[in-house]
């Protein structure tokens, strides 16, 4: 694996070009270009805020700040994995004809998505901790914000690992794409993207089987979203989301477990990718 990493380093310039290509090509035929990476999530936030505030009468203030803590990492994971799954197939002609370390292709897709992810967070902080103050909404800046890079690192490990796994599998089985689509569609509601993870803690199922909650939180994406929310924002007020108990403190032990699984996904994904990469061009 070390040999493979050295080879990857040798091709870092190609990786950079691939990222630029990925970013350029995505919006090249659209009139509004880069705006398309901002407008859909913005509309999502508006719809969800309306739904929870006005339809479900949720008393949680600044709901949009909470929901974005879920939407931003979720979108990064979802698009990276789906794009990476197609990336090798799209570049099949290249890898069939010329030698390049094949992992640069899914990696470039993840990096391009990471740039959108970073941009989204930059807008998030500008809006909620800058502009919001001007119009009288005061969100306190918490010292736990310092954990932000650590949480992001865990998310990146998980995303890269999953993307490598998915892209390698997609070369052999077309089913992977359909399975993933379904998993992400349902995952959106199971993983605490639009609601707090604490809600699951207070379900009757999790009350009777506390092990299920542990399992739930060991999913890296769940833990990452939960950790972002609890380190950036104040706990949600009592009674919001019709929660049957007080907001739960961030459990670092569970987060460490999820981080371990994320690292395992990365190492395992890279190993699997390397074990299969010579067979990509030989599929019958």
């Amino acid at each position: 694996m070390l040999e493979e990493l050295a080879e990857l380093r040798r091709f870092h310039f190609l990786l950079g070009r691939l990222v630029v290509r990925e970013l350029k090509v995505r919006y090249v035929n659209s009139v509004f270009g880069f705006v398309w990476s901002i407008v859909p999530p913005l509309l999502q936030v508006i719809v969800f805020t309306f739904l929870f505030r006005s339809v479900l009468h949720n008393p949680c203030r600044n709901y949009s700040a909470y929901v974005l803590c879920g939407l931003i990492p979720w979108t990064f994971l979802n698009s990276s994995t789906m794009d990476a799954g197609q990336s090798l197939i799209e570049n099949y002609l290249v890898i069939r004809k010329v030698y390049i370390p094949r992992e640069v292709i899914p990696l470039s897709v993840v990096i391009a998505n990471f740039i959108h992810f970073a941009l989204a967070w930059a807008l998030y902080f500008t809006a909620f901790f800058g502009v919001a103050r001007l119009i009288g909404i005061d969100l306190p800046v918490k010292p736990t914000l310092l954990y932000f890079p650590l949480i992001t690192l865990v998310l990146v490990c998980f995303t890269v690992g999953l993307s490598l796994w998915v892209s390698a599998l997609s070369m052999f089985y077309d089913d992977v794409r359909f399975i993933l689509q379904t998993v992400f569609q349902l995952g959106f509601f199971i993983v605490p993207v639009v609601v707090p993870a604490d809600l699951f803690r207070y379900t009757r199922l999790a009350q009777h089987h506390p092990g299920l909650y542990t399992l739930y939180m060991l999913n890296p994406i769940t833990s990452v979203i939960d950790a972002y929310r609890k380190t950036i924002l104040e706990p949600v007020p009592l009674g919001s989301f019709q929660m049957k108990g007080a907001p739960v403190e961030l459990n670092w032990t569970l987060f460490a477990g999820a981080a371990g699984i994320a690292v395992f996904t990365l190492v395992g994904g890279y190993a699997y990718f390397n074990s299969r990469k010579w067979l990509f061009v030989e599929r019958g």
Binding site: K24, V28, N29, K97, V98, Y173, E282
Partner: protein, 258 residues
């Protein structure tokens, strides 16, 4: 591993007892992969069977043979796209540097249709291992050779096959390759461009570059190559001077000599 060396080697390409078996798997879904293990039929296909040869630096070698004889597989293994099943294929540069292999991609396989010619030069150059500075230096030469200066900043989508081929060829030969691999793509360009390519190949030959090309056009093999390899059903049938090998090949395929 192929493609790396610590000291200069007198040969540019060393192929030893090279065999390649493809396993054509007839399973495409997870269901069959999970529950059908062992029952999924795989057909082994012996694409190359114990092939050995050496190409000294500066030689131009043509590979001839019928369709499906294993020519492209051979080039693919030398380009490090496939891994050998048995034996080895190694490429060496004239000095101890890492050798630069430039495979000529069929019709610019590495191009993206939604990028401009210039953007594609940058990208394609990076695939072939050029540094940003080298790409900047070579860009005018590449565009001039491909006769695409006017089109350079337009999107490739609208280009014809010939223009794309010209750009691909121009980039590949301007990467200053130690070994140029050409898999019968030159037939697409128009005659004046083809002539230009052959002149350039002459120049590359004069500059001491090693060239390995696959062709069905025996007159091209006769004119350009100093040596011909004839491959049939994965086996190296004959290896020798163009006159000798091509005569035998023509006889076997009952093709009248021109």
């Amino acid at each position: 591993m192929p493609g790396s060396s610590s000291q200069p080697n007198p040969d540019a390409v060393v192929v030893e007892h090279l065999s390649k078996t493809f396993h054509i798997r007839h399973m495409k879904s997870l269901k069959r992969a999970m529950f059908g293990r062992g029952t999924a039929p795989t057909t082994p296909l012996l694409a190359l069977d114990d092939v050995s040869f050496r190409i000294p630096h500066g030689q131009t070698v043509a590979v001839v043979g019928r369709n499906g004889s294993g020519k492209s597989t051979l080039l693919g293994i030398i380009a490090r796209v496939y891994k050998p099943s048995k034996g080895s294929a190694a490429v060496f540069g004239p000095d101890s540097r890492r050798p630069r292999i430039a495979p000529l991609l069929a019709l610019g396989a590495g191009f993206h249709r939604d990028l401009t010619g210039l953007e594609n030069i940058e990208f394609y150059g990076a695939i072939l291992g050029l540094t940003p500075r080298e790409i900047n230096e070579k860009r005018p030469q590449i565009l001039a050779f491909a006769e695409l200066e006017e089109k350079a900043d337009t999107v490739i989508r609208g280009w014809n096959d010939g223009a794309r081929l010209r750009l691909g060829f121009a980039i590949a030969v301007h990467t200053d390759p130690d070994l140029l691999l050409v898999d019968e793509v030159l037939a697409v360009g128009d005659e004046s461009f083809q002539n230009k390519c052959y002149r350039l190949i002459d120049e590359l030959q004069a500059a001491g570059k090693t060239i390995l090309f696959v062709t069905h056009d025996l007159t091209v093999a006769e004119r350009t190559a100093g040596r011909v390899l004839w491959i049939n059903a994965g086996k190296l049938v004959m290896d020798g001077s163009p006159a000798e090998v091509l005569t035998a090949y023509r006889q076997s395929s009952e093709e009248p000599a021109p």
